[in-house]
Symmetry: C2
Subunit: 381 residues, 2 copies
Amino acid sequence: MQKKYLMTPGPTPVPAEVLLAQAKPMIHHRTPEFNAVVRNSVEGLKYVFETTESDILIFSCSGTGAMESSIVNCFCAGDEILIAINGKFGQRMQLIAEAYGLEASVLEYGWQEVVDPRDIAAHLAAHPQTRGVVITQSETSSGVLNDVEAVGKIVREYPDCILIIDSITGIGAVECKTDEWGLDVVMTGSQKGLMLPPGLAAVSVSPKAWRAYERSTLPKYYFDWKKYLKSLGQDTTPFTPAVSLMIGLDVSLKMMREEGIDNVIARHSRLAEATRQGVEALGLELFAPAEGRGSAVTPVWVPEGIDGKELVKIMKNKHGVTIAGGQDEYTGRIIRIGHLGYFDDFDIIVTLSALEMALTELGYEFEPGSGIKAAESVLMA
Amino acid sequence: MQKKYLMTPGPTPVPAEVLLAQAKPMIHHRTPEFNAVVRNSVEGLKYVFETTESDILIFSCSGTGAMESSIVNCFCAGDEILIAINGKFGQRMQLIAEAYGLEASVLEYGWQEVVDPRDIAAHLAAHPQTRGVVITQSETSSGVLNDVEAVGKIVREYPDCILIIDSITGIGAVECKTDEWGLDVVMTGSQKGLMLPPGLAAVSVSPKAWRAYERSTLPKYYFDWKKYLKSLGQDTTPFTPAVSLMIGLDVSLKMMREEGIDNVIARHSRLAEATRQGVEALGLELFAPAEGRGSAVTPVWVPEGIDGKELVKIMKNKHGVTIAGGQDEYTGRIIRIGHLGYFDDFDIIVTLSALEMALTELGYEFEPGSGIKAAESVLMA
């Protein structure tokens, strides 16, 4: 017998209460019972997104579907947009924009760099016809946190330019004040901070984004926002939704409301700090720069002479702790420890302990227990 | 305490084995464990779709997403296609085709008519440039079964024209011999014959359909078939899939293989016949014409002087049996009894009994028990 710990930045562990809610007998989606699920979920998501001004739309798809929806609902082919990229998921937004014939300018940064809002301001000043700015709040590939609040201040000065935030691993892990910061479109996926299995995505749409919608001519049907808005008026969805996942969402959002969104975010911040102090105490180096570290995932350089893939494999197969490896050019060179969603102090302790044991097994030299000691001191504070 | 019976044509009841499989702790999708789930699911779906020649792609979305995928992956804007429509879901295909700028010719039939394959042959002879024929095998809105085998024989004579089958409530309920009948694209949704919650859809793609893909220029990303095909080579999916639903799919497909696809279809045929004989014995009239009745759902005219919405409500609220009402112009005028997926003899008996009691309560005159008697005689045969 070996317990399993899922320490990846998505899918993330699902609370037993949520798992079991999804195992209830199936109900039909055109019923008052399910209308209540939709109504509660939208209200709960508004609370989590910190918005009263935006509409919240829920799609049965993974996060990439929500990303695509933001492009096809807000723009026309040939529109100029600006995409700030400092990781894998910013790149995906570029691929989607290009698939739909947008003229995407790219501000490209290294995966270890934070997007500089001044670069966005300079681009918009030089290209005031820009119709949209796209930025990833929390880059899952690198752990970097971009300052979307600062970007919001810049973009709100341009009445015909909307700000699209990929907050797929941001929502529920870091502050994301949709209204206050002027974020026009914010998206997340169910298998992240919302503590659900994958299969649902949520998007917030501001009044400014609805104006962009009215102008948009890109073809769409399944992801057509207006269809979802119209159905929301009757607490339903235009197409058969993922009923069991929606029922789970209702439960997980209740858990988040009970804890309180500020406490949820404070917990993530504390667990991230414990993880960072723990790995640094082992002599390992953090991947993300000090000026922009998110609370969803902690990427760490694999020490010289150690095979990162082997490290992940030992932690999973020998110790039952699944962490993520690096992506693209960082495959085998970094590990990524997720602490996004349903995590508490001892999940971090377990992971650091498994990391200590696996590193020892691979011949890395350090003071055993030092990572745990550093983490404990953060967790006790 | 009141037991609940879900007798709708989707969502359909989910076996407890499948519900509980989905309640297992979350696993990551980039693991050998999940690769096995993908591999098994694709194999199981090939068995159910009766294909060895087509690829099977699985999407995290509802059936409408799969419908959209068939349009955006096979055509260019301006392409001429032919859509045969005899119900609500044929109409949806037309809306999708129009959203993407196709030139859709429509063969329109009444909801109580079966599509005549000769009309399709005549249209193709007159318009040999037609790039695709779209037809709903089993119309959920009307219960009508169209003869897609006959249509397959016609379309296979046109090397540049593909045949797209909406078999969302066909697969697992009626025969659908993808290879033998020359069906290029066949689609289904998880919450139908596959006995799962909604949230997944599967599409089969023939070599001829892949040639259409190569020519297609419509924009796409989340539903881009080639991305899914490429990932299938590594037993995975391009984007995070609905992991818990996929794990459920693995279990439900095993159940279908154990029963055997021919037995699954024979069971549906028997339950549909029992339902039909049962309602006719009550003096009610079937909605679908004798020459084209599917096994997924039995729509029935509500007798003169009875309010169909009230009938559905009494069956649900008083007796715990949820059936569907009519859609669009048939709202309140027909009821639809689903028997698609996880159903056995006594589900039909229960439904007919609830129908008898609700009809009595609404003042309809008939011989109580006569519906049950007629159904029993079919079930005993």
